[in-house]
Subunit: 209 residues, 3 copies
């Protein structure tokens, strides 16, 4: 398997994981099967779509390559069928999600750098690519987005993307900078879950204006 195929395969794996996470959220809200598919599609494609629209990259990634949609459909339907028989394997899913977050954060930052974006923007595009899908998922489910309230999620994405962009800037090869950045996100996220690390809260006890 050459590197390009490997990255494409990893990318599709990340998309599938995000689709499963969307389908599970929709199930907790008792949506119908179609709603499950919509939430799965939005969760899996949301981050990359916002990135592509903001950077004016056309065709948007899933419009140019329908494989993504096929993978999402299969993942969503498989989730519905699987959970009729068994509880979702929580820990494996969280680990897979951390992997997807790491991968997408670096892919997003990389694409922004290639489009000539300044490094601060590239870091932000990494975080958007990794986290915006989950944010849209929670908006569709009419909840205050989880990533805004709990644990180190998008923060892990931001830190890993920063590590990657800085390694690129100092001239390291992509084959080093990208895996190191992705591993940073992945390990931070696992550590945050294991030891229940949280970013400090900002609690403003103020009346509504």
């Amino acid at each position: 398997m050459n590197p390009a195929s490997l990255i494409h395969a990893l990318d599709l794996f990340g998309i599938a994981v995000f689709a499963v996470s969307g389908a599970l959220s929709a199930g907790r809200k008792s949506m119908d099967v179609f709603g499950v598919i919509v939430v799965a599609v939005v969760t899996a494609t949301g981050g990359g779509t916002i990135r592509d629209v903001l950077l004016d990259r056309h065709p948007v990634f899933w419009i140019g390559d329908p494989t993504y949609l096929v993978v999402i459909l299969v993942a969503a339907i498989a989730t519905v069928i699987f959970t009729r028989f068994q509880r979702p394997p929580r820990v494996s899913l969280l680990v897979a999600d951390a992997f997807g977050l790491g991968l997408f954060s670096i892919v997003g930052a990389r694409i922004a750098l290639e489009a000539g974006a300044p490094i601060l923007i590239a870091v932000l595009m990494g975080a958007i690519t990794g986290s915006a899908g989950g944010l849209l998922r929670d908006i569709l489910c009419a909840e205050i987005p989880l990533i805004l309230r709990r644990h180190i999620y998008a923060v892990a994405s931001l830190i890993g993307a920063t590590v990657y962009v800085l390694l690129e800037e100092v001239g390291l090869a992509l084959t080093i900078s990208a895996p190191v950045g992705a591993a940073t996100v992945f390990l931070l996220r696992l550590a945050a879950m294991k030891w229940n690390l949280q970013v400090p809260s900002f609690i403003l006890d103020d009346e509504d204006p």
Copy 2:
């Protein structure tokens, strides 16, 4: 009336119906008149706008032709005035909405095909054009979008768009494929309302992660 004018007239009719549906939702949330207009605009233009931005079609349809906005404003204000005197004619509105859904689903799929999108993408663009406005409407009203929970709504749009795209693919003329596709959406939607058809729910009785 030539075919192009007919389609434009139908299109404006569909826009007006969606604007009314947005205005009624806003009224149920006791928004002010301005909020009513915002929700009407978003409901009526949302699907087509997302389609145009995703496909990189500029100007976005309502930016290129302000008639749409004028129609929406008139429809929203007429709704506010009308409902001071009379209850909204529920059944007529649902039928008109089903008609708009059918029309927009096919228009959206057609535009995507013309832009060279693969058929799976064209079907999705049809569904987005038909249903995304209603989805945004429900988000603005801070509700779990109705189309994700109840009845055959976006599903009708997806099925009709699929019928249309397949008829196009086998080489039928647009004057046949488009009306057949639109009628499929329309009739499915009417049948779903009459017999209260629903897509099976996916209920996941699981704790929040």
Copy 3:
């Protein structure tokens, strides 16, 4: 200070004010510090981003000039620190917000006119630039957007943008039309707060369909 620098400075001031408003809203929802930053970024950049994407202006304003993001980060973090020691200065913030609304409404309308948009569209782009950030802020906080329910907010933006566009159309210099338009928004907003002016509500006492 030449006019261009003055406008850029005012623009950054408006961005900072909107970032503070986003950070305060996030604090009322007890988000973590990262969530605060996300909401601040979305509130401050949302309106201009939607405007740029709809008008196909690339790079989007904050992608082309990272100063905006830096200002937002500083404003959000300063808000978190400041409110540990003191209550936010409510009145000053509302006045600053009215100023930002006035400025952004005119900037948005101006940019749309320069892009060749019809005047109705230019007015709408002014209102979007001024108010969409606040709307997205409330969606992220899972509330029915405030601007849809209370007081003269986006309405002030619409009226001021209309005044500006009409003065442009009759041929007045930008140095007159723009300040008059911005002042219209600003004063309307202050008057609305002082005398608690409201747009009439549209209350539809109807069952959910």
